[in-house]
Symmetry: C2
Subunit: 198 residues, 2 copies
Protein backbone atom coordinates (compact mmCIF):
# COMPACT_ATOMS: atom_id res chain seq x y z
CA UNK A 1 0.00 0.00 0.00
CA UNK A 2 2.43 2.65 1.13
CA UNK A 3 5.43 2.81 3.46
CA UNK A 4 5.96 0.30 6.26
CA UNK A 5 5.12 2.99 8.85
CA UNK A 6 1.70 3.60 7.34
CA UNK A 7 1.16 -0.15 7.02
CA UNK A 8 2.02 -0.61 10.68
CA UNK A 9 -0.47 2.08 11.69
CA UNK A 10 -3.13 0.48 9.55
CA UNK A 11 -2.51 -2.90 11.15
CA UNK A 12 -2.53 -1.48 14.68
CA UNK A 13 -5.90 0.16 14.00
CA UNK A 14 -7.31 -2.95 12.33
CA UNK A 15 -6.75 -4.87 15.56
CA UNK A 16 -9.20 -2.65 17.46
CA UNK A 17 -12.66 -4.16 17.97
CA UNK A 18 -15.10 -2.77 15.43
CA UNK A 19 -12.45 -1.94 12.81
CA UNK A 20 -11.52 -4.31 9.99
CA UNK A 21 -8.77 -3.87 7.39
CA UNK A 22 -10.95 -1.71 5.15
CA UNK A 23 -12.19 0.68 7.80
CA UNK A 24 -8.70 0.84 9.32
CA UNK A 25 -7.43 1.98 5.93
CA UNK A 26 -10.08 4.67 5.76
CA UNK A 27 -9.17 5.74 9.29
CA UNK A 28 -5.46 5.94 8.38
CA UNK A 29 -6.29 8.08 5.34
CA UNK A 30 -8.36 10.35 7.55
CA UNK A 31 -5.48 10.65 10.03
CA UNK A 32 -2.97 11.39 7.26
CA UNK A 33 -5.15 14.09 5.76
CA UNK A 34 -6.18 15.73 9.03
CA UNK A 35 -2.89 15.78 10.83
CA UNK A 36 -3.68 18.69 13.16
CA UNK A 37 -7.34 17.83 13.59
CA UNK A 38 -7.16 14.07 14.03
CA UNK A 39 -3.68 12.52 14.12
CA UNK A 40 -2.11 14.83 16.72
CA UNK A 41 -5.12 14.76 19.13
CA UNK A 42 -5.24 10.95 18.97
CA UNK A 43 -1.51 10.71 19.49
CA UNK A 44 -1.58 13.07 22.51
CA UNK A 45 -4.57 11.24 24.03
CA UNK A 46 -2.82 7.87 23.68
CA UNK A 47 0.38 9.28 25.14
CA UNK A 48 -1.27 10.70 28.21
CA UNK A 49 -3.34 7.57 28.83
CA UNK A 50 -0.27 5.38 28.36
CA UNK A 51 1.82 7.49 30.74
CA UNK A 52 -0.73 7.43 33.51
CA UNK A 53 -2.67 4.19 32.97
CA UNK A 54 -3.31 2.39 36.25
CA UNK A 55 -5.55 -0.28 37.71
CA UNK A 56 -7.27 1.02 40.83
CA UNK A 57 -5.90 -0.87 43.82
CA UNK A 58 -9.23 -0.50 45.65
CA UNK A 59 -11.89 -1.47 43.11
CA UNK A 60 -10.04 -2.78 40.02
CA UNK A 61 -11.29 -0.01 37.68
CA UNK A 62 -8.91 1.11 34.94
CA UNK A 63 -8.10 4.79 35.18
CA UNK A 64 -5.29 7.31 34.95
CA UNK A 65 -5.04 7.59 38.72
CA UNK A 66 -4.94 5.17 41.64
CA UNK A 67 -7.29 5.16 43.55
CA UNK A 68 -9.54 5.77 40.54
CA UNK A 69 -11.76 8.83 40.06
CA UNK A 70 -14.76 6.95 41.45
CA UNK A 71 -13.00 5.60 44.56
CA UNK A 72 -11.51 9.03 45.31
CA UNK A 73 -14.72 11.01 44.73
CA UNK A 74 -15.85 12.25 48.18
CA UNK A 75 -19.45 12.76 46.96
CA UNK A 76 -20.01 9.05 46.44
CA UNK A 77 -21.69 6.80 48.94
CA UNK A 78 -19.26 4.52 50.78
CA UNK A 79 -22.05 2.37 52.18
CA UNK A 80 -23.01 0.82 48.86
CA UNK A 81 -20.81 -1.29 46.54
CA UNK A 82 -21.81 -2.61 43.11
CA UNK A 83 -19.91 -5.76 42.14
CA UNK A 84 -19.40 -6.06 38.36
CA UNK A 85 -17.66 -8.60 36.16
CA UNK A 86 -15.72 -6.18 34.05
CA UNK A 87 -14.67 -2.54 33.63
CA UNK A 88 -17.08 -2.28 30.66
CA UNK A 89 -19.97 -3.11 33.03
CA UNK A 90 -18.80 -0.45 35.47
CA UNK A 91 -18.82 2.11 32.67
CA UNK A 92 -22.29 1.01 31.57
CA UNK A 93 -23.62 1.55 35.11
CA UNK A 94 -21.83 4.89 35.31
CA UNK A 95 -23.49 6.03 32.11
CA UNK A 96 -26.89 5.43 33.73
CA UNK A 97 -25.83 7.93 36.45
CA UNK A 98 -28.17 6.11 38.82
CA UNK A 99 -25.73 4.34 41.12
CA UNK A 100 -24.27 6.70 43.72
CA UNK A 101 -21.98 4.19 45.47
CA UNK A 102 -18.60 2.57 44.86
CA UNK A 103 -17.66 -0.36 42.65
CA UNK A 104 -15.80 -3.63 42.75
CA UNK A 105 -14.51 -5.13 39.49
CA UNK A 106 -14.13 -8.91 39.62
CA UNK A 107 -12.05 -9.17 36.47
CA UNK A 108 -14.27 -11.84 34.90
CA UNK A 109 -16.81 -14.47 35.90
CA UNK A 110 -16.54 -17.99 37.27
CA UNK A 111 -16.44 -20.47 34.42
CA UNK A 112 -15.78 -24.18 34.54
CA UNK A 113 -15.47 -24.14 30.76
CA UNK A 114 -12.77 -21.48 30.64
CA UNK A 115 -11.16 -22.71 33.87
CA UNK A 116 -11.83 -19.49 35.80
CA UNK A 117 -11.86 -20.27 39.54
CA UNK A 118 -12.74 -18.00 42.48
CA UNK A 119 -9.05 -17.31 43.17
CA UNK A 120 -8.68 -15.96 39.61
CA UNK A 121 -11.14 -13.16 40.42
CA UNK A 122 -10.85 -10.40 43.01
CA UNK A 123 -13.40 -12.06 45.32
CA UNK A 124 -11.02 -12.28 48.31
CA UNK A 125 -10.34 -8.55 48.01
CA UNK A 126 -14.08 -7.91 47.97
CA UNK A 127 -14.52 -9.96 51.16
CA UNK A 128 -11.70 -7.99 52.78
CA UNK A 129 -13.32 -4.69 51.74
CA UNK A 130 -16.64 -5.75 53.29
CA UNK A 131 -15.03 -7.11 56.47
CA UNK A 132 -13.49 -3.70 57.12
CA UNK A 133 -17.04 -2.47 57.77
CA UNK A 134 -18.95 0.63 56.72
CA UNK A 135 -20.78 -1.13 53.88
CA UNK A 136 -24.57 -1.53 54.11
CA UNK A 137 -25.46 -2.88 50.70
CA UNK A 138 -23.70 -4.98 48.06
CA UNK A 139 -25.38 -4.94 44.63
CA UNK A 140 -24.48 -8.03 42.63
CA UNK A 141 -24.52 -6.50 39.15
CA UNK A 142 -23.44 -9.54 37.18
CA UNK A 143 -24.57 -10.22 33.62
CA UNK A 144 -27.81 -12.19 33.28
CA UNK A 145 -25.91 -15.18 31.89
CA UNK A 146 -25.47 -18.61 33.41
CA UNK A 147 -21.88 -17.83 34.37
CA UNK A 148 -22.74 -14.38 35.64
CA UNK A 149 -25.46 -15.78 37.87
CA UNK A 150 -23.21 -18.61 39.10
CA UNK A 151 -20.68 -15.99 40.09
CA UNK A 152 -23.37 -13.98 41.86
CA UNK A 153 -24.48 -17.06 43.86
CA UNK A 154 -20.91 -17.87 44.83
CA UNK A 155 -20.31 -14.31 46.06
CA UNK A 156 -23.64 -14.30 47.90
CA UNK A 157 -22.48 -17.46 49.76
CA UNK A 158 -19.16 -15.87 50.68
CA UNK A 159 -20.85 -12.70 52.01
CA UNK A 160 -23.62 -14.57 53.85
CA UNK A 161 -22.38 -13.86 57.35
CA UNK A 162 -21.81 -10.15 57.00
CA UNK A 163 -24.48 -7.74 58.30
CA UNK A 164 -25.22 -6.32 54.85
CA UNK A 165 -28.10 -6.19 52.41
CA UNK A 166 -27.33 -8.29 49.32
CA UNK A 167 -29.26 -7.23 46.22
CA UNK A 168 -29.11 -7.97 42.54
CA UNK A 169 -30.27 -6.17 39.40
CA UNK A 170 -33.88 -6.85 38.48
CA UNK A 171 -34.49 -9.25 35.61
CA UNK A 172 -37.49 -8.71 33.39
CA UNK A 173 -38.80 -6.92 30.33
CA UNK A 174 -36.31 -4.53 28.78
CA UNK A 175 -37.70 -1.05 28.10
CA UNK A 176 -39.60 -1.19 24.81
CA UNK A 177 -39.66 -4.99 24.93
CA UNK A 178 -42.66 -6.72 23.36
CA UNK A 179 -43.86 -9.96 24.94
CA UNK A 180 -44.29 -11.63 21.59
CA UNK A 181 -40.64 -11.14 20.67
CA UNK A 182 -39.14 -11.91 24.06
CA UNK A 183 -37.23 -15.11 24.82
CA UNK A 184 -38.97 -17.50 27.21
CA UNK A 185 -36.33 -17.09 29.92
CA UNK A 186 -36.85 -13.36 30.21
CA UNK A 187 -40.63 -13.73 30.16
CA UNK A 188 -40.48 -16.36 32.91
CA UNK A 189 -38.24 -14.10 35.02
CA UNK A 190 -40.55 -11.13 34.51
CA UNK A 191 -43.58 -13.18 35.52
CA UNK A 192 -41.92 -14.66 38.60
CA UNK A 193 -40.74 -11.20 39.71
CA UNK A 194 -44.10 -9.53 39.12
CA UNK A 195 -45.03 -6.71 41.46
CA UNK A 196 -48.21 -5.08 42.70
CA UNK A 197 -49.34 -2.16 40.53
CA UNK A 198 -48.63 0.95 42.57
CA UNK B 1 -17.25 7.72 32.40
CA UNK B 2 -13.73 7.83 33.76
CA UNK B 3 -10.89 10.33 33.89
CA UNK B 4 -10.60 13.21 31.44
CA UNK B 5 -7.63 11.51 29.74
CA UNK B 6 -9.65 8.39 28.94
CA UNK B 7 -12.56 10.56 27.81
CA UNK B 8 -10.25 12.48 25.49
CA UNK B 9 -8.95 9.24 23.97
CA UNK B 10 -12.49 7.99 23.49
CA UNK B 11 -13.47 11.22 21.72
CA UNK B 12 -10.39 11.19 19.50
CA UNK B 13 -11.20 7.64 18.41
CA UNK B 14 -14.90 8.41 17.93
CA UNK B 15 -13.94 11.04 15.33
CA UNK B 16 -12.40 8.38 13.06
CA UNK B 17 -14.60 7.32 10.15
CA UNK B 18 -16.29 4.03 10.93
CA UNK B 19 -16.19 4.46 14.71
CA UNK B 20 -19.06 5.94 16.72
CA UNK B 21 -19.15 6.73 20.44
CA UNK B 22 -20.05 3.17 21.39
CA UNK B 23 -17.41 1.41 19.32
CA UNK B 24 -14.85 4.03 20.37
CA UNK B 25 -15.60 3.12 23.98
CA UNK B 26 -15.10 -0.56 23.23
CA UNK B 27 -11.84 0.28 21.47
CA UNK B 28 -10.63 2.32 24.47
CA UNK B 29 -11.45 -0.55 26.80
CA UNK B 30 -9.51 -2.89 24.54
CA UNK B 31 -6.53 -0.51 24.56
CA UNK B 32 -6.63 -0.13 28.33
CA UNK B 33 -6.74 -3.88 28.88
CA UNK B 34 -4.11 -4.80 26.28
CA UNK B 35 -1.51 -2.17 26.98
CA UNK B 36 1.47 -4.08 25.56
CA UNK B 37 -0.44 -5.76 22.76
CA UNK B 38 -2.57 -2.89 21.50
CA UNK B 39 -2.00 0.49 23.14
CA UNK B 40 1.80 0.66 22.80
CA UNK B 41 1.90 -0.60 19.17
CA UNK B 42 -0.77 1.93 18.13
CA UNK B 43 1.04 4.71 19.97
CA UNK B 44 4.39 3.86 18.34
CA UNK B 45 2.81 3.58 14.88
CA UNK B 46 1.14 6.97 15.26
CA UNK B 47 4.38 8.53 16.52
CA UNK B 48 6.46 7.31 13.63
CA UNK B 49 3.86 8.29 11.04
CA UNK B 50 3.48 11.72 12.64
CA UNK B 51 7.24 12.29 12.75
CA UNK B 52 7.76 11.42 9.13
CA UNK B 53 4.47 12.23 7.44
CA UNK B 54 5.01 14.01 4.13
CA UNK B 55 3.13 14.80 0.93
CA UNK B 56 5.11 13.64 -2.09
CA UNK B 57 6.30 16.71 -3.98
CA UNK B 58 6.16 14.77 -7.25
CA UNK B 59 2.79 13.00 -7.26
CA UNK B 60 0.91 14.28 -4.19
CA UNK B 61 0.73 10.86 -2.48
CA UNK B 62 0.87 10.85 1.33
CA UNK B 63 3.79 8.87 2.65
CA UNK B 64 6.55 8.90 5.24
CA UNK B 65 9.13 9.91 2.64
CA UNK B 66 9.39 12.50 -0.15
CA UNK B 67 9.48 11.51 -3.01
CA UNK B 68 7.06 8.76 -1.96
CA UNK B 69 7.79 5.01 -2.11
CA UNK B 70 6.06 4.76 -5.49
CA UNK B 71 7.84 7.72 -7.10
CA UNK B 72 11.22 6.50 -5.83
CA UNK B 73 10.74 2.85 -6.80
CA UNK B 74 13.14 2.21 -9.72
CA UNK B 75 11.14 -0.84 -10.87
CA UNK B 76 8.11 1.25 -11.83
CA UNK B 77 7.39 2.43 -15.35
CA UNK B 78 8.09 6.16 -15.85
CA UNK B 79 6.28 6.24 -19.18
CA UNK B 80 2.82 5.75 -17.72
CA UNK B 81 1.02 8.02 -15.22
CA UNK B 82 -2.39 7.33 -13.64
CA UNK B 83 -4.21 10.51 -12.59
CA UNK B 84 -6.47 9.99 -9.55
CA UNK B 85 -8.68 12.29 -7.53
CA UNK B 86 -7.49 11.26 -4.14
CA UNK B 87 -4.89 9.27 -2.20
CA UNK B 88 -7.59 6.69 -1.41
CA UNK B 89 -8.00 6.05 -5.14
CA UNK B 90 -4.24 5.63 -5.53
CA UNK B 91 -4.27 3.02 -2.76
CA UNK B 92 -7.21 1.23 -4.37
CA UNK B 93 -5.30 0.97 -7.68
CA UNK B 94 -2.19 -0.16 -5.82
CA UNK B 95 -4.11 -2.94 -4.14
CA UNK B 96 -5.04 -4.28 -7.58
CA UNK B 97 -1.27 -4.58 -8.30
CA UNK B 98 -2.10 -4.16 -11.97
CA UNK B 99 -0.78 -0.69 -12.69
CA UNK B 100 3.01 -0.65 -13.06
CA UNK B 101 3.46 3.11 -13.64
CA UNK B 102 3.51 6.28 -11.57
CA UNK B 103 0.66 8.33 -10.13
CA UNK B 104 -0.58 11.87 -9.95
CA UNK B 105 -2.97 12.85 -7.16
CA UNK B 106 -5.22 15.81 -8.02
CA UNK B 107 -6.35 16.46 -4.46
CA UNK B 108 -10.04 16.44 -5.39
CA UNK B 109 -12.32 16.91 -8.41
CA UNK B 110 -13.69 19.96 -10.17
CA UNK B 111 -16.99 20.95 -8.65
CA UNK B 112 -19.07 24.05 -9.33
CA UNK B 113 -21.19 23.15 -6.30
CA UNK B 114 -18.28 23.00 -3.87
CA UNK B 115 -16.42 25.81 -5.61
CA UNK B 116 -13.44 23.65 -6.60
CA UNK B 117 -11.72 25.23 -9.63
CA UNK B 118 -8.83 23.91 -11.75
CA UNK B 119 -6.31 26.02 -9.83
CA UNK B 120 -7.40 24.30 -6.58
CA UNK B 121 -6.19 20.97 -7.93
CA UNK B 122 -2.65 19.95 -8.94
CA UNK B 123 -3.50 20.10 -12.66
CA UNK B 124 -0.77 22.64 -13.49
CA UNK B 125 1.79 20.39 -11.85
CA UNK B 126 0.52 17.47 -13.93
CA UNK B 127 0.92 19.53 -17.14
CA UNK B 128 4.46 20.45 -16.09
CA UNK B 129 5.27 16.78 -15.44
CA UNK B 130 4.02 15.79 -18.88
CA UNK B 131 5.77 18.68 -20.63
CA UNK B 132 9.10 17.47 -19.27
CA UNK B 133 8.72 14.49 -21.58
CA UNK B 134 9.27 10.75 -21.13
CA UNK B 135 5.58 9.98 -20.60
CA UNK B 136 3.75 7.86 -23.20
CA UNK B 137 0.40 7.28 -21.56
CA UNK B 138 -1.80 9.15 -19.11
CA UNK B 139 -4.60 7.06 -17.57
CA UNK B 140 -7.45 9.27 -16.36
CA UNK B 141 -8.58 7.18 -13.38
CA UNK B 142 -11.27 9.48 -12.06
CA UNK B 143 -14.39 8.22 -10.30
CA UNK B 144 -17.34 7.41 -12.55
CA UNK B 145 -19.30 10.35 -11.14
CA UNK B 146 -20.44 13.48 -12.94
CA UNK B 147 -17.75 15.56 -11.25
CA UNK B 148 -15.08 12.92 -11.80
CA UNK B 149 -15.88 12.75 -15.50
CA UNK B 150 -15.99 16.56 -15.80
CA UNK B 151 -12.51 16.64 -14.28
CA UNK B 152 -11.33 13.96 -16.70
CA UNK B 153 -12.65 15.98 -19.68
CA UNK B 154 -10.99 19.14 -18.45
CA UNK B 155 -7.64 17.38 -18.05
CA UNK B 156 -8.01 15.73 -21.46
CA UNK B 157 -8.44 19.23 -22.97
CA UNK B 158 -5.34 20.52 -21.19
CA UNK B 159 -3.21 17.59 -22.38
CA UNK B 160 -4.56 17.60 -25.93
CA UNK B 161 -1.41 18.90 -27.62
CA UNK B 162 1.08 16.54 -25.99
CA UNK B 163 2.24 13.48 -27.94
CA UNK B 164 0.76 11.01 -25.43
CA UNK B 165 -1.93 8.36 -25.34
CA UNK B 166 -4.83 9.49 -23.14
CA UNK B 167 -6.88 6.61 -21.73
CA UNK B 168 -9.53 6.19 -19.10
CA UNK B 169 -10.80 3.29 -17.00
CA UNK B 170 -13.42 1.17 -18.71
CA UNK B 171 -17.02 1.65 -17.61
CA UNK B 172 -19.39 -1.26 -17.68
CA UNK B 173 -20.70 -4.22 -15.71
CA UNK B 174 -18.94 -4.74 -12.38
CA UNK B 175 -17.71 -8.29 -11.81
CA UNK B 176 -20.68 -10.34 -10.58
CA UNK B 177 -23.13 -7.64 -11.71
CA UNK B 178 -26.57 -8.80 -12.86
CA UNK B 179 -28.26 -6.83 -15.61
CA UNK B 180 -31.58 -6.85 -13.85
CA UNK B 181 -30.17 -5.12 -10.79
CA UNK B 182 -27.91 -2.66 -12.58
CA UNK B 183 -28.69 1.05 -12.85
CA UNK B 184 -29.59 2.30 -16.32
CA UNK B 185 -26.50 4.48 -16.61
CA UNK B 186 -24.10 1.56 -16.15
CA UNK B 187 -26.10 -0.63 -18.51
CA UNK B 188 -26.08 2.10 -21.18
CA UNK B 189 -22.29 2.54 -20.76
CA UNK B 190 -21.73 -1.19 -21.01
CA UNK B 191 -23.83 -1.42 -24.16
CA UNK B 192 -22.16 1.57 -25.82
CA UNK B 193 -18.71 0.19 -25.04
CA UNK B 194 -19.51 -3.34 -26.20
CA UNK B 195 -16.66 -5.28 -27.79
CA UNK B 196 -16.33 -8.13 -30.26
CA UNK B 197 -16.24 -11.55 -28.57
CA UNK B 198 -12.65 -12.72 -28.83
Amino acid sequence: MASTEIDALSQALARLPGLGPRSARRAVLHLLKKREGALIPLLRALESVNERLATCSVCGNVDTRDPCSICSDPRRDDRSIAVVEDVADLWALERSRLFPGRFHVLGGRLSALDGVRPEDLTIDRLVTRISQGGVDEVVLAMNATLEGQTTAHYIADRLENFPIRLTQLAHGLPVGGELDYLDDGTLAQALRARRPVS
